[in-house]
């Protein structure tokens, strides 16, 4: 698996997410995760698309071909901040709670709901840290997991614009 993180600035028009996801489906590209929200400029949205592809050039070109796409930046993990939010409910009766809370504190995960048979954690971190925590607690019995998908920002002046070849 070769993951590429694309930050895609798009016009905030109805259906733009459908255009992006339809293009991925039609061209047979794999989306690993996709997160979208308003960008700094009103009227635009930023999508963080994580693509599983050996070769990213054609993906970028097809994305750029969509009329509502304004700009695409490939983010280098070494030169960007990447985060993911996870909510996870894990099976835990009172006897296991302490053990789980200790593990969570190491990962800076926060217990946000505690019940008789389960604990729900919230964790914000790099996608790999989030994954590490998930694997750590998996043996206790996962009841539910939701993830936000990756979001990412380039570090100051480390943005590498992917330009169409010309």
């Amino acid at each position: 698996m070769t993951l590429h993180v694309l930050s895609v600035l798009v016009e905030d028009k109805p259906g733009v997410l459908a255009r992006v996801s339809s293009m991925f489906a039609r061209r047979g590209f794999n989306i690993h995760s996709l997160a979208v929200g308003p960008s700094a400029e009103p009227g635009n949205s930023t999508m963080t698309v994580v693509v599983d592809a050996a070769e990213i050039e054609q993906v970028v070109k097809q994305l750029r071909k969509l009329i509502n796409t304004i700009k695409i930046t490939e983010l280098d993990p070494a030169e960007s901040v990447e985060r993911e939010v996870m909510l996870v409910r894990v099976a835990a009766d009172a006897s296991l709670r302490g053990e789980l809370l200790d593990a969570a504190s190491v990962f800076k995960a926060k217990a946000v709901d505690v019940g008789a048979t389960s604990v729900t954690f919230e964790m914000v971190g790099t996608p790999s840290k989030v994954n590490d925590f998930l694997e750590l607690i998996r043996p206790y019995g996962l009841i539910d997991v939701v993830k936000s998908g990756w979001i990412a920002l380039a570090r100051d002046s480390k943005t590498r614009n992917l330009r169409a070849i010309s």
Binding site: S22, R64, I67, S166
Partner: protein
């Protein structure tokens, strides 16, 4: 002054210079048909929305203008999917206007509701569902801008009925478009132009591979100038037939699966392939790994996504074909500085030998049956090649491309990428509407003909005197050819039964003139007769040999090193 969105739509279309629309009315689009009644825009009432869509394409391909098709919601819009997909594949600029159920009914499975926006999305360059009435003048302007600029293509505008009925304050479109993500790069990068010219001057066995982008960009004069200046043999793809004169000594004709041996082989042996406005389609390349194995590649296209999609070029150039060719010519002149370009004499002589030795051949027995190739050659001879030729898809299309000597762009119209059977009749009608003073001769097969023959009524009632030659072999000829070659002659579902329909009676029933040739001696006279009738559409049926096959042939997915010139070569 307040006017309805429907009235604004028609005004906006008039503002874009639209002179004709092809369409079919219905409930949701009714408000737009009312102001159309008073408009100078001519409306051609097709008998099926698919026909209307192909008419708009034929019009666009013949004239270079944006074609317009209008249809209602639901089935009206879904019937347009094939023309949209066809236009997208062949980069034909059309704008489709569709009615939609009222906004409050959208999503409720209302009568004649279809999710047109979603259905048409992957078949269009861009599409709109208009929900703000005030947007209409600018949306129409944007739609025309998108359809006709950059890499041309289809754009659809979906208009809910209540929006069409809403009153707005009319404002003339400003002419500006607000498309921050759409700025096609038309000029090639100077460094790449220099690199390309260096490769061209260093090449010993160059081939210029001209695609449909030459026609779209109107770059035929520049193509000829570059070819002559640098002594480059030119192959024209199915979408580029006519972009380079076939009688020119540097012309190779069509490449690909049913291309000419010299064109296919020149590409295979070349050390430099200069692709302009072409996309390395699988019908050209065969097995891409075995395609032009010794060639360096210069690839120029207005669409960056085509570059590197199939073949990684040595010199990529993003730009408009005409601009880039102009840049290449300029740079070549400056680099040569009066010195002659390499003459490639040996290479051109080798090509001429292939052209002499490996010709497309058939044998017309005077006793019959009529060979389909003979009909195409007779049509060419009798018309002097002075016609816009329109084809459907299949054997007849390949013969019409192989055997006709095209000399001008936009005189060959066909469905290349999507391979849409039934394209010829409606596309010919559209072409004739756009070019009423030209002879428009469709060369069709009987399978294709029966897919869209209801449009004969459109041609006769709207006064569009197209001429259609039906090469009737009573079979789905190309499919039959594959069954013969690859499926042990098991002719499953390819026979179209014995001379049904009766094409002469059918033509007459549809308000056209019907002619028939059953014997080789009748072919010439029937063609000549067809040329004397110019106030009605003329359908000429030629009963041709069903066993005739298209050669040369490179079997699908095979290497272009293995060109079969006849059935024997495939055994």
């Amino acid at each position: 002054m307040k006017i309805t969105v429907a009235e604004a739509l028609i005004k906006a279309l008039e503002f874009e210079g639209v002179e004709v629309m092809f369409g079919h009315p219905g409930g949701a689009i009714l408000p737009a048909y009312d102001p159309l009644y008073d408009s100078p825009i001519r409306h051609i009432l097709a008998r099926h929305e698919q026909g209307a869509g192909h008419m708009a394409e034929g019009y666009a391909q013949a004239t270079g203008k944006v074609g317009v098709v209008i249809a209602t919601s639901g089935p009206g819009a879904t019937n347009l999917v094939t023309p949209l997909a066809n236009a997208y594949m062949d980069s034909v600029p059309i704008v489709a206007i569709t009615g939609q159920v009222p906004t409050h009914a959208i999503g409720n499975d209302a009568f004649q509701e279809a999710h047109t926006w979603g259905i048409s999305m992957p078949a269009t360059k861009h599409n709109y569902l208009v929900t703000d009435p005030a947007d209409i003048p600018d949306v129409i302007h944007e739609a025309f801008h998108l359809a006709g600029s950059g890499r041309p293509g289809p754009v659809l505008v979906d208009l809910p009925k209540n929006i069409l009925n809403t009153e707005i304050e009319w404002h003339q479109p400003t002419g500006k478009v607000d498309l921050p993500g759409y700025k096609p790069n038309t000029k090639g990068h100077p460094l790449q132009i220099r690199a390309a010219v260096d490769l061209i001057l260093a090449a010993e066995r160059p081939v210029l591979y001209a695609g449909g982008g030459i026609v779209a960009a109107g770059a035929h004069a520049e193509l000829l100038a570059l070819a002559e200046k640098a002594n480059l043999p030119v192959t024209t793809t199915l979408m580029a037939r006519g972009a380079f004169p076939d009688h020119h000594p540097l012309s190779l004709g069509m490449p690909g699966m049913h291309g000419l041996y010299a064109a296919i082989t020149a590409i295979q042996k070349s050390d430099l392939l200069i692709a302009i406005g072409a996309r390395f389609d699988d019908r050209v390349t065969g097995d891409p790994a075995a395609f032009a194995p010794h060639a360096k590649v210069i690839h120029a296209d207005i669409d960056p996504s085509e570059i590197g999609k199939v073949r990684t070029p040595d010199v990529p150039i993003v730009g408009d074909a005409r601009t880039v060719l102009g840049q290449l010519i300029g740079k070549l002149d400056r680099t040569l500085d009066g010195a002659p370009a390499p003459d490639h004499a040996g290479w051109l002589e080798t090509i001429r030998e292939w052209q002499r030795d490996k010709v497309v051949h058939y044998q017309q027995d005077p006793a019959g049956p009529i060979k389909p190739q003979f009909v195409v050659e007779e049509l060419y001879r009798i018309t002097g090649g002075q016609a816009i030729v329109v084809a459907g898809v299949g054997q007849h299309q390949m013969w019409a491309s192989q055997l006709w000597k095209y000399t001008k762009p936009r005189t060959w119209i066909n469905s290349g990428g999507l391979g849409t059977m039934g394209y010829a009749i409606p596309a010919a009608i559209g072409a004739k509407v756009g070019m009423p003073d030209e002879l428009v001769y469709a060369i069709d097969g009987d399978g294709c003909f029966q897919m869209t023959m209801q449009e004969l009524t459109t041609a006769s009632t709207e006064g569009v005197p197209v001429k259609i030659a039906v090469l009737n072999n009573n079979n789905l000829g190309m499919v039959r050819q594959w069954q013969r070659l690859f499926y042990n002659e098991r002719f499953s579902a390819t026979e179209l039964t014995n001379h049904t329909p009766d094409y002469v009676k059918l033509a007459e029933a549809m308000g056209c003139v019907g002619l028939r040739a059953e014997h080789p001696s009748e072919v010439g006279p029937v063609i000549e007769k067809s040329l004397t009738i110019n106030d009605q559409p003329v359908i000429s049926e030629f009963r041709v040999d069903p066993d005739e096959m298209v050669f040369p042939m490179v079997p699908a997915g095979g290497s272009n090193d293995d060109v079969a010139m006849s059935l024997e070569d495939l055994k």
